[in-house]
């Protein structure tokens, strides 16, 4: 029964030409448009040193870890130089920011970094990431110092921040767009997942009613339908990668295996969203499609598809939203692979995405297990 349903779900999906278009062709069209729109912007862009200011007050002077970290990241002779840092008063910093001479300034308040930026953008994002990392490492050092000061000698007392161009060529703003495109492609899998589940539901179609009265356990039907949908979606994803790499010459950086891993998981998360919408939302198919498109597009918007600024704004003001936003988790994981030398952030994103996927699929199966309706 499992493979029987798998085979026929696959047939049904592949003969649904609108679904095939959205899954296979739409991402390629979007990739082409991105390429046309951004290729000129990209030419000659490299990771630039960011102009920043630090409020040089008593608190700054007392915080050695931050001082050392900024000194290191601003060293002119360093190939990894990230910042051109000016040490100024608050008033001067405000003026520099108003004159757009700096991307932002940092002030320490009660040991906590407070970042002010003129406008959100890639520089603001890098600045924020660097400061977060310094703060995290400072905290670790503080904790070690409290527990076992002798260990500090082994570790060294100063945090090291490594934000560098990890790509084989150069830091690409367009990459963010491609990352969100991958996220969108993954999440559009929700449409296939939803279609596969709708056909099993008695309140969605007469064929669903016929399936509902059959002696086939729902979980088997759901999992086999999901697997067929996943296969189709992976074909779509593979096409996108082949097309962007071979035709558009997109460079996904040195960790393509992990990019692919995250994309596979992202696709599953997309399907899970579709399954959840299909099984938990009591509405017609069109409304469900609308919800999936809205969730996907809004998620991609928050993750920076229409401008990286939005990602920064959400990360800064409502971080929980992006921590639960699958589009952002996919984008952020890919972004972390590109920008960070360690994989902590990447695996963090992978873990949350896995959790969301398991919860959505599990809850959907549970809710459909013995479903009966009030009316049909």
């Amino acid at each position: 029964m499992f493979w029987h349903n798998f085979k026929y779900t696959l047939k049904i999906i592949l003969r649904d030409y609108a679904l095939v278009f959205w899954t296979l062709a739409f991402p390629l069209i979007m990739a082409t448009l991105f390429n046309l729109a951004f290729s000129n912007i990209e030419n000659g862009e490299r990771l630039k040193v960011i102009d920043v200011a630090v409020i040089d007050d008593g608190e700054w002077q007392a915080n050695k870890p931050f001082q050392e970290a900024f000194r290191e990241l601003s060293r002119e002779d360093s190939p990894d130089r990230l910042f051109d840092t000016r040490y100024v008063s608050r008033e001067e910093a405000n003026q520099l920011l108003a004159d757009e001479d700096i991307a932002g300034f940092l002030q320490l308040k009660s040991g906590h970094p407070e970042l002010t930026v003129a406008e959100s953008g890639i520089n603001a994002t890098i600045l924020k990431s660097a400061i977060e990392e310094i703060a995290t490492q400072s905290q670790v050092i503080r904790e070690i110092a409290q527990k076992d000061p002798t260990k500090l000698a082994q570790l060294g007392t100063l945090p090291t921040v490594e934000i560098e161009d990890q790509s084989s060529e150069h830091l690409s703003y367009t990459m963010i767009e491609y990352y969100t495109l991958i996220a969108m492609t993954c999440l559009y899998g929700g449409m296939i997942g939803m279609a596969a589940i709708n056909q099993l539901l008695a309140n969605m179609s007469t064929s669903g009613r016929r399936i509902a009265v059959s002696p086939s356990p729902k979980w088997k039907l759901i999992i086999s339908g999901l697997l067929a949908s996943y296969l189709v979606q992976l074909v779509g994803l593979a096409l996108l990668f082949v097309y962007t790499i071979t035709i558009l010459h997109v460079d996904y950086g040195p960790h393509f295996g992990l990019v692919a891993t995250l994309s596979l998981l992202g696709s599953l998360a997309g399907l899970a969203i579709g399954v959840a919408v299909a099984s938990l939302v009591r509405s017609n198919a069109n409304a469900k499609v609308g919800i999936i498109i809205a969730v996907t597009m809004f998620g991609c918007f928050l993750a920076g598809m229409m401008g990286i600024t939005m990602k920064y704004i959400v990360d800064t003001n409502l971080p929980i939203l992006n921590r639960l936003n699958p589009a952002n988790l996919i984008t952020d994981g890919l972004y972390a692979l590109y920008y960070y030398p360690t994989f902590d952030r990447f695996w963090g994103d992978v873990s949350v995405l896995t959790g969301i996927t398991i919860v959505l699929i599990g809850f959907s199966i549970w809710s459909l297990r013995k479903e009966q309706y009030d009316n049909l």
């Binding site: 029964m1 349903n5 179609s205």
Partner: protein, 253 residues
């Protein structure tokens, strides 16, 4: 004779309206039971409750002497349903549609292939195996709908207005199919608006209105309920007369 279905005090309330009101009846093994009633009388709701598609508020439903529930898979294995609306996949051809639904009941490929072929022959779709539903006429679609519901050779078959909107030839063919199924030993629950169909096919008839059974019996017994039949009708009352007498002549939604 054993009961295939036993319904006791079935009550289904939907939005404060009793869609099914304390309904009790049995369906005997091997009979064709007609479930008649105007639109909205509760026929389909009753069938959907029996099939465990709908929740109900009160009552007990047994099929083959076992309580019916959404996960009563052994009972479901022996049931076939032909819904009023054509329930097939537009993306699958005739053979694949029947094979898909049959495969939900029968695992063995060889056995299933035989069942699918038998069903195709029964409904006369031999020349349309590779046709997709949108290439079929209304009558052929109805026959495909029936084939999908009965290919696995169920012991109990629900037919919910299977002849709606088909030409007389297709209707006649469908009615012959139902007779064939009964001869094979299946028990049939049949709903229809066509009184002559019920009279031709059914061993017993239950007439439902406003969720209640208002009459039941053999066609002959039911005819006796009409006493004021106009004299000009020399052949006596038809079931159509019984139906209108009992449920009124007003149009329903």
């Amino acid at each position: 004779m054993k009961n295939t279905i036993s319904v006791k005090h079935l009550t289904k309330i939907y939005q404060k309206i009793k869609a099914v009101d304390n309904l009790s009846f049995d369906v005997r093994e091997g009979e064709i039971l007609g479930l008649l009633g105007p639109n909205g009388s509760g026929k389909s709701t009753t069938i959907n409750c029996i099939l465990s598609l709908l929740k109900y508020d009160k009552g007990e439903i047994k099929i083959f002497d076992q309580p019916m529930s959404p996960d009563a898979y052994e009972i479901k294995r022996q049931i076939g349903v032909v819904f009023q609306d054509v329930a097939v996949f537009e993306e699958l051809n005739v053979y694949d549609n029947i094979d898909f639904f049959c495969g939900l009941y029968i695992k063995d490929k060889a056995e299933r292939a035989k069942c699918v072929e038998d069903a195709i022959k029964l409904v006369g779709l031999q020349d349309f195996r590779k046709f997709y539903p949108k290439q079929l006429s209304g009558g052929l679609l109805r026959r495909l709908n029936i084939a999908c519901g009965i290919a696995h050779k169920p012991k109990l078959i629900f037919l919910d207005e299977p002849t709606v909107a088909v030409d007389p030839q297709s209707r006649n063919h469908i009615l012959e199919n139902i007779e064939t199924l009964r001869k094979r030993g299946a028990t049939v629950v049949y709903t229809t608006h066509y009184m002559e169909e019920a009279e031709q096919l059914c061993d017993r008839i239950i007439i439902i209105d406003k969720g209640k059974i208002i009459a039941s019996g053999t066609p002959t017994e039911l005819k006796k309920l009409v006493k004021n039949k106009p004299i000009k009708e020399v052949s006596g009352p038809t079931l159509n007369d019984v139906f209108l007498e009992l449920t009124g002549k007003d149009l329903r939604d």
